[in-house]
């Protein structure tokens, strides 16, 4: 459903992403792995147009979306749960979740999506009135994913959803992501929790210095010796 061809992304004058090509098939889970600072966030931010694309093409369901603005990308159904979550700290949990349904595409399905959110994260029901700024990391991540579900994603981009979460919360987060994927939503997930994400993913891409160093079936990548090298950074 998503196809990135030879993408370059600069931040200021620095070339951060170089010649990256990547595909997410319909309903697939694709893992984007790589050590700190290798460019995962820069790449997914460019997909949501928080960073601008220098050159290369992005296609979604066959349509060229390279030049669309952030809001148009959302309307296409590409929704991102960003690094650091970017919640609205002074709004309550329910207000944050409802903001997810801001996009036109999501308005008519707001009720349905909210019910779905509660089947994925029943524990949210007991904290709807709390201000988001006061929640724990795991709770905030739930709100962030809930908010993204409200936007009716076809492709959900998750940038390090497990960061700062306890092992138990991480486990629950991964289960929720698999559940969301089972409903037919494609997933592009960046993770440093490599072993765990590779168990869940269909395909994986390993990034090194802004380039794709390794790609293939997630199970193959998990067994690949190259992977260790990438993580040592050599």
């Amino acid at each position: 459903m998503l196809e990135i061809n030879n993408l370059y992304v600069n931040i200021g004058n620095l070339s951060i992403i170089q010649d990256v090509s990547l595909k997410v098939g319909d309903g697939e889970i694709v893992a984007l792995i790589g050590a700190n600072g290798m460019g995962k966030t820069t790449l997914v931010r460019a997909l949501s147009k928080l960073n601008s694309v220098k050159s290369g093409k992005i296609f979604f369901k066959g349509e060229d979306i390279t030049d669309l603005s952030a809001d148009k990308i959302v309307e296409k159904g590409i929704i991102q749960v960003p690094e650091g979550r970017k919640l609205f700290p002074q709004m309550s949990v329910i207000e944050n979740i409802e903001m997810g349904a801001y996009a036109k595409r999501a308005r008519t399905k707001e009720k349905e999506n909210l019910e779905y959110v509660f089947t994925v994260f029943p524990e949210l029901k007991s904290m709807l009135k709390q201000a988001c700024g006061n929640l724990s990391g795991g709770q905030q991540q739930m709100v962030a994913i809930a908010r993204s579900i409200m936007a009716s994603p076809e492709l959900l981009i998750l940038d390090e959803p497990s960061i700062g979460l306890s092992p138990i919360a991480t486990q629950k987060m991964f289960e929720a992501i698999e559940l969301i994927n089972k409903s037919g939503i494609g997933i592009l997930i960046t993770e440093q929790n490599v072993q765990q994400v590779l168990k869940m993913a269909d395909t994986a891409y390993a990034m090194q210095q802004g380039k794709i160093a390794l790609s293939g079936k997630a199970s193959d990548i998990a067994a690949d010796d190259e992977l260790k090298k990438i993580y040592i950074g050599m």
Binding site: D71, K86, F88, Q90, A151
Partner: protein
């Protein structure tokens, strides 16, 4: 209690309400766009002249002309943000500040060119004299001004907390990128927020027109006052701006009563500096929590 003291307190409260509304607009603009609108005072003066012109030329009550001023100022704010400030949204903040300062001078000099520097006074015949409550006398213009402030504030509250666009504006002020990722068009929310901020100062100006004699640079004193109030309230904190506005109005009036009018401003600004020395984020300022 001393009746004159109470009279001063009451006058201060009523005027403070008008300051509060103007400062609310300044604080809202800052909260959403993170820039200080140096054209806020000049916009207030535009509101004053809008009421003056409409009221005198059509022979209608200034309180009906106020609606016209509100619409004009909303449009003015929207246009300034959409066509000017937004164009340089990637520039350093101080350039955006200078741009609003440039707008202030254009508005002021425009008013000077059209209306001359002479004072203009609106003759209001909506009321017959002050309302007497025992030893206390209440100016009906100030009382109506305060009532309008309450209504406008309530409407702004409803817009910001209950409507789609209002929630989007609040979302932008709390996390701009988070808002973008929800499909919010920042350019639009910014323009509407600036429009609402301008509307606040325009209505404040409209409410002052029956009370004061107006002239093109009158807004300058209010610019500074709004700035002080918004900072005391914690820039971007709307409730803080409202309460600080009342406090400044009351302090000003009580100082005038106790020590004479020339001490009012001195006391307000001295108190302002003292408070900032003790609490740099203002009376109601949040320490800036930043998500990233």
């Amino acid at each position: 209690m001393n009746m004159q003291f109470f009279q001063a307190f009451l006058d201060g409260t009523l005027m403070g309400g008008v300051y509060a509304l103007a400062a609310l607009g300044l604080s809202l603009i800052f909260g959403v766009m993170k820039i200080t609108n140096f054209a806020h005072g000049a916009m207030m003066t535009v509101g004053m002249y809008a009421v003056y012109v409409v009221s005198t030329s059509l022979g209608i009550s200034p309180y009906i002309a106020l609606v016209f001023a509100a619409i004009t100022l909303f449009a003015l704010g929207y246009i300034i943000q959409h066509f000017l400030i937004d164009k340089i949204s990637d520039a350093p903040t101080h350039n955006q500040l200078l741009l609003t300062l440039g707008v202030a001078y254009i508005l002021e000099n425009g008013l000077l060119a059209v209306f001359s520097p002479n004072y203009k006074t609106l003759n209001v015949d909506d009321f017959d004299g002050a309302i007497q409550l025992g030893a206390i006398s209440i100016s009906p213009e100030k009382l109506v001004a305060f009532a309008v402030v309450l209504i406008v504030t309530a409407v702004i509250y409803i817009v910001l907390y209950k409507t789609r666009i209002g929630k989007a504006i609040r979302a932008c002020s709390q996390n701009k990128e988070g808002a973008k990722l929800m499909g919010i068009v920042i350019k639009k929310t910014n323009a509407v927020a600036f429009g609402i901020g301008a509307l606040c100062t325009g209505i404040a100006g409209a409410l002052l027109t029956p009370i004061l004699s107006i002239y093109p640079t009158l807004g300058e004193t209010f610019q500074l006052k709004c700035f002080v109030i918004a900072i005391l309230g914690g820039m971007g904190n709307l409730w803080g701006a409202l309460i600080s506005g009342l406090i400044v109005g009351i302090v000003e009036s009580l100082t005038g009563y106790i020590a004479g009018g020339s001490w009012s401003d001195l006391t307000v600004y001295a108190a302002f500096i003292l408070i900032l020395l003790v609490k740099p984020s203002g009376l109601f300022g949040r320490s800036n929590r930043r998500e990233h």
